[in-house]
């Protein structure tokens, strides 16, 4: 029974001290929920979204969610059984406080005065939201890519709050190549003549830079195979190539489209802040990173998954996460799923993948029922 979209907004009741030391005096967080919280409060699943997602994880045909294959009635994250929460990221631009928000100290938008963020800061905001909703222990945190990193961080930092963590197509430490792609995307934004040190009017700013960043990111989200089967060397809108520098090939038209539609829904500054948080993520390098989870009387159970055609965060990234968790004796399952779609697979209809998440969550639900 998916209703029309209802986005709620919560103002945190206390200032937020960020991992980097700065304090945000006023933080709002936008979120959506599906399903009902049961009496024991034991059926809550938090969906952690990826870099450019938002709180609309599940939707309707008219208003699709970004994770409709995973979240909804009868799907692996079954909104008929689970109370599902998805919130916008801190630093984002879809209702949660971010660089475009007003700095109460100056009355103007933060722009580049917004503090740098970490994955832990994203998680801290969501932890407060979840507490506000009356949930003391989540049945699961489920996330892909940057969402998977949040799921991992949450389970490591607050293992008593997370019974199960699903970490898909993620990394615990970006490679030089990953960071290089991030750097080019940011460079496209910041070198755009309209960037103006981040002080631009709504709807203006480094639009061409943001579109370029998005085009490049999209290349990293698809596998070569996916691109070949989707577009091949097909010519767009003409019987034969014009042999100029415009859009000749179908793949060029696709990237062009991805770049321009992105402008309607994303802020260039948010892109800078969120992508930078990814670059610095390295939770296992912290001394004692695994101590809390490893010594927890009811440690979180992990499901780590990768896709064999994902070259953005290859299977090796997921294996590293698995090695660290399993090495700390945390109950950890890992699967590499065969899929031709590259990094994007985590949002797509890949039956083997969805079946695995469903099996994991079915079990989690059964166990929660037994415990309560």
């Amino acid at each position: 029974m998916p209703d029309a979209r209802t986005t709620y907004r919560l103002t945190l009741d206390e200032p937020l001290r960020l991992e980097g030391g700065r304090v945000l005096p006023h933080v709002e967080v936008a979120y959506e929920t599906w399903g009902e919280l049961d009496d024991a409060g034991s059926n809550a699943v938090f969906i952690a979204h990826a870099l450019t997602g938002d709180s609309h994880a599940s939707g309707t045909t008219d208003d699709p969610g970004w994770w409709d294959t995973m979240v909804g009635p009868g799907r692996p994250v079954d909104t008929d059984r689970f109370f599902v929460v998805c919130a916008n990221l801190l630093g984002g631009c879809r209702g949660t406080t971010g660089p475009a928000s007003i700095d109460p100290a100056t009355g103007a938008s933060y722009a580049l005065d917004f503090p740098l963020l970490s994955i832990r800061d994203f998680v801290e905001v969501h932890r407060r939201l979840v507490r506000h909703l009356g949930i003391t222990r989540l049945l699961a945190v489920v996330g892909g890519s940057l969402g998977g990193m949040q799921a991992l961080q949450w389970a490591l930092d607050a293992p008593d709050e997370v019974a199960n963590a699903v970490v898909v197509a993620a990394s615990s430490r970006l490679s030089a190549q990953n960071i290089a792609f991030s750097a080019v995307a940011r460079s496209a934004i910041m070198r755009d003549p309209e960037f103006s040190e981040g002080r631009y009017d709504e709807g203006g700013g480094p639009r061409s830079g943001l579109a370029t960043a998005r085009m490049m990111a999209h290349i990293t989200y698809l596998s070569e195979e996916a691109m070949a089967s989707k577009f091949g060397r097909r010519i767009q809108d003409a019987d034969e190539p014009r042999r100029r520098f415009g859009v000749d090939f179908a793949v060029e038209s696709y990237l062009e489209h991805q770049g321009s539609t992105f402008l309607d829904r994303f802020d260039p500054l948010s892109y800078l802040y969120l992508s930078r948080a990814l670059d610095y993520f390295d939770p296992f390098s912290e001394p004692g990173a695994l101590d809390a989870a490893a010594s927890c009387p009811r440690p979180p159970r992990f499901l780590v998954m990768s896709f064999d055609s994902d070259w953005r965060f290859s299977t090796e990234h997921s294996r590293r996460i698995t090695r660290r968790l399993e090495g700390a004796r945390l109950p950890t399952s890992f699967r590499e799923i065969g899929s031709p779609h590259g990094h994007d697979s985590f949002l797509l209809d890949v039956p083997d993948y969805l079946t695995t998440v469903a099996a994991f969550l079915d079990r989690a639900h059964e166990e929660a029922g037994r415990a309560s």
């Binding site: 698995t322 090495g327 399952s333 890992f334 079915d362």
Partner: protein, 211 residues
């Protein structure tokens, strides 16, 4: 539970941390966790088995036993179970080395190619045996390194593993006493061995069990 897994389970001390190589749907680990207070991880690469184990609540890691056991740290488990799997690996000797490294103790369950019925099939009919212990035709079998009990016990010794206990199985995988006093290598359908790595502090000397 599969009869030979009952035998394996009987050799696992309660509370052990167990790595089960070729765990299938996680039946053994599930049993050991519920009945024996054990913890552990399964390893497999078959999609249906992995999903079944996850549904059962058994932690399971998808990897290639032949090449990716370096995923597991030295001494990170109390015991490694290799049940009906050693004969399906590319280099059983390397696997035994990994068992020694990861746990120092292992339980290996293996079919006996030298069972009289197998010998007869080859000797009289000139055909590769198909039996309850070796149920696959030669071209479709996962078992690529078939051996007799004499062979595997020799390999254990070479790999520096001492046999601490041996349970002989009949051809349906049940514990059998028939072969205890007889020529095991002729009459047992298989065996389950509890192995201790000699480098990991096990008592020295390899007892010859084979008659």
């Amino acid at each position: 539970m599969r009869p030979d897994l009952e035998v394996v389970a009987g050799l696992v001390p309660p509370g052990s941390r167990v790595l089960d190589l070729g765990c299938g749907s996680g039946e053994l680990l599930d049993h050991l966790t519920r009945e024996g207070g054990c913890t552990g991880t399964g390893v497999d690469s078959d999609p249906d088995s992995l999903v079944a184990a996850i549904r059962r609540g058994v932690p399971v890691i998808d990897l290639d036993i032949d090449s990716q056991l370096d995923q597991f740290g030295d001494g990170s488990y109390d015991l490694v179970v290799v049940s009906q799997t050693l004969q399906a690996t590319r280099r059983p000797d390397d696997i035994l080395g990994e068992v020694g490294r990861i746990a120092g103790r292992g339980i290996v369950s293996i079919p006996n190619f030298a069972l009289w019925r197998h010998r007869l099939a080859l000797l009289l009919r000139g055909r590769m045996p198909v039996s309850p212990v070796l149920p696959h035709p030669w071209y479709a079998t996962p078992n690529i390194h078939l051996a007799s009990l004499v062979d595997v016990e020799e390999l254990f010794a070479t790999a520096g593993m001492r046999v601490q206990e041996r349970v002989l199985l009949d051809s349906s995988g049940r514990r059998t006493v028939l072969a205890r006093r007889g020529p095991a290598n002729l009459v047992a359908g298989g065996a389950v061995y509890l192995l201790v790595s000699q480098t990991a502090g096990g008592a020295g000397g390899s007892d010859s069990l084979v008659r």
